[in-house]
Structure formats: C-alpha cells, structure tokens
Symmetry: C2
Subunit: 212 residues, 2 copies
C-alpha cells in the first residue's frame, strides 16, 4: 500500500495551478499516491476576517504573487495568462470535481486550472465546464450532478474538514501522519516526507509527530 | 564586478534565520555578492493594518510556521529553540548591525539570529549584543553608536527604502535588475537569477524587466 498525500486545492488559487500541473509526475516517481481534494478557501478566509483574497487586500503581496507566478510558470514551461477577474468563483468547478470519481478528478482539475490560468478563461461558466468534461472524455452528467444536494453537501463537508485540519491556504499537502505542507513550493518536501516512511493507518498526532 | 543581491532581513523574522545561515555559502558558490541590509518590518506591517506579526494575528498560520521552521532547520542542521517572546524587538540589533561596516555585518547578523533562534535568547538586551560583538571580534563601540542620531537615521532610511521597493516581508532578496524574491525558500531562485546575467548599473524597471 503506497503512502498517500491529501492534495487540497481551490480552483481560485493561483499557486494551486503549478502544483496541480506538477504533482502527479513527482508523486508517481516517489511511489506516493495523491488524493485530490477540492475545497473552498473562501469560508476559511472569512473566518479570519478576510472578505477578499489576501492578494487583493494586500496589493504589494498581490503584485509580488503575479510576478512570482510568472517566474515559476516560465521555469516549469507552463503557459500563464492572467484572468480578468481574480479570484474567480470556484464553487461550481469544485462541485463538478467532486461529482466525478477519484479516477476522473485529476484530469478535470488540470483542465480547469489550464483554462483559468493558461488561457485566462472564466471557470464559473457552466458551458466552459461542460466543454472541459467533454474534452477530457469525462462523464458530462457531472455538471448536472454538481447542483445536487449530495454534491453540495460533499463540498461543504470537505471544506469543514479542511478547516478542522487547520488548513489556511492552498495548495496544501497533508500526509497520513498529519504533517501539513503549504504552497506549491512545499510539494517536493511533502512528497519526500510521505515517501520516507510507511503509511500509518490512523492519525494520532501528538504521539506520531516525528522529530527529524 | 560580481552581480549583487540586496539581502533584506529583520532580526525579528523567523524565516530570516535559516536564510542568514545559508545565504553566504550559496551566493559565494554562484559568484554572487550579498549586500546585508537590516530593516524593520514593523512600520510596513502597521501601514497595512497589522499591529502584530501575522503569525500571531493568524494562529493557524503561526502554528504552521513554527512547525515548518522546525522541519527546515532539521533539514539544514540548524539548531532551533523557540524564544519565549515572539516577535522580539529588533530595533537595537538592527541599529548595531548598521553601526558596523559591511565587512562585519554578516558575522554579527548570524550571531544575533543564532542567539535568538538557536538559543532562544532575548536580542533586545544590550548586554547580549555586547557579548555577541565581543565573541565575533567586532568593534564593541558599535553598541554605543547604535544610539547615535546618525545610525538611527540610517535605519529609518533603510526601512523607508524597503517600503519604496515594495517589500512586504522578510527575508527579501532584490536583484540589481529589480527582481524581488520573498522568503527563505526563494533564496536559491534569487541567486540563480542574479548569476544568470551581468550586473546592470542603473535600475530602469519597465524596460529592463526580462521575460523568461
């Protein structure tokens, strides 16, 4: 049984884009499994008093982030086109991703991120999401299911779990022994951590937290 | 003439500690010169509405930061002892560093960071700073000069320049062509950027900003 990392992302999150594009190859090379978990950062930001992205609330940080993202994407050979609206409403895309099964979720997630940040398209448009599902040969009924009570509740539950697990940003990587790594720039460290030890069935933070 | 990076740090900043300990060896190996520039983050935080460290204002982020720092220090073989007070008042240490000349500043800065984060000592205590100066064979009169109008004004000017250059956190690395890199985890990228091109005498941001 391969060690597994929960890869938490929000489709509105800029740094989740390079992370989503890089994660699978790195994890596979290290023998680590990824569990793709879309969630909403919005409620977590609101809970700490932010009604907008910190990159909009703090313009210096925002200017820096866009330039930093440019450099990262150039280094990783990822196209980057800044969307007109930031942050975008990621609710429908996240629900769509959850309506798909785990096998279809990564390809859909990458397609959404590419539409948003490589092409600068809106991801809150049902027509766009339908086209992405079709282009990836994924179940197009996922779009209708996205509005079902079951899927809405599933996304609420995921977002609540993210909050319970102390997440405060995206992307975040959570190992089975409860180590949290935040940011695209911690992806390699998260994978190395997970690969370095056998998986642990149950989480029991204080006693299992390793010092190394 | 070697390319130069301005290495902006605040003695109160946790991530400035591993950056200060790692910077010289990495820069030297790449043929890059470092210009060590202590400044105060406090006025920049206050200007954006924070009256305390964001790691205290946002407890999730704070808990994460300390654990992340533990992991980074373990990887870099740096001792880490969390000081009782955080953030510490870095004013006197920053003035002392500026009272020294550029040749003495790096050794003093590393000694202050080690006292603070490897030993958990207070760095606002003149006796501690005097002992660090003595232990590094540095000019002990720097401590008295730290309270001179000249040095006070020098630190104010540095902090104003940091603000003008759009800095919003520490450590920050600024290349001669005006590229800003923020965080200990961007040190390598900053050095690679600086090493990749010959130094530019004058800054003229819009036209010199390279796309790569």
């Amino acid at each position: 049984m391969a060690p597994t990392i929960d890869f938490w992302f929000d489709f509105a999150s800029t740094y989740s884009y390079p992370a989503a594009m890089r994660a699978e190859a790195l994890a596979e090379a290290a023998g680590v499994k990824l569990n793709w978990r879309p969630f909403l950062l919005g409620p977590i930001f609101v809970a700490q008093g932010w009604r907008d992205s910190p990159f909009n609330l703090y313009p210096r940080k925002g200017r820096y982030m866009w330039r930093d993202l440019e450099r990262i994407c150039a280094r990783e050979n990822l196209p980057l086109k800044r969307p007109d609206v930031f942050p975008q409403n990621s609710l429908l895309a996240a629900r769509c991703a959850l309506a798909l099964d785990a096998a279809g979720r990564p390809a859909f997630a990458r397609a959404v991120f590419a539409a948003e940040f490589a092409e600068g398209r809106r991801i809150d448009d049902p027509a766009t999401l339908a086209a992405l599902l079709a282009a990836q040969d994924l179940r197009e009924s996922a779009l209708a299911e996205a509005s079902s009570e079951r899927v809405k509740q599933a996304l609420r539950a995921e977002t609540e779990e993210a909050q319970r697990r102390d997440l405060f940003g995206a992307p975040s990587f959570l190992t089975q022994d409860g180590e949290l790594f935040w940011g695209n720039d911690r992806l390699e460290a998260a994978i190395a951590w997970a690969a370095a030890r056998p998986p642990i069935a149950r989480l029991d933070r204080p006693s299992l937290r390793r010092q190394r």
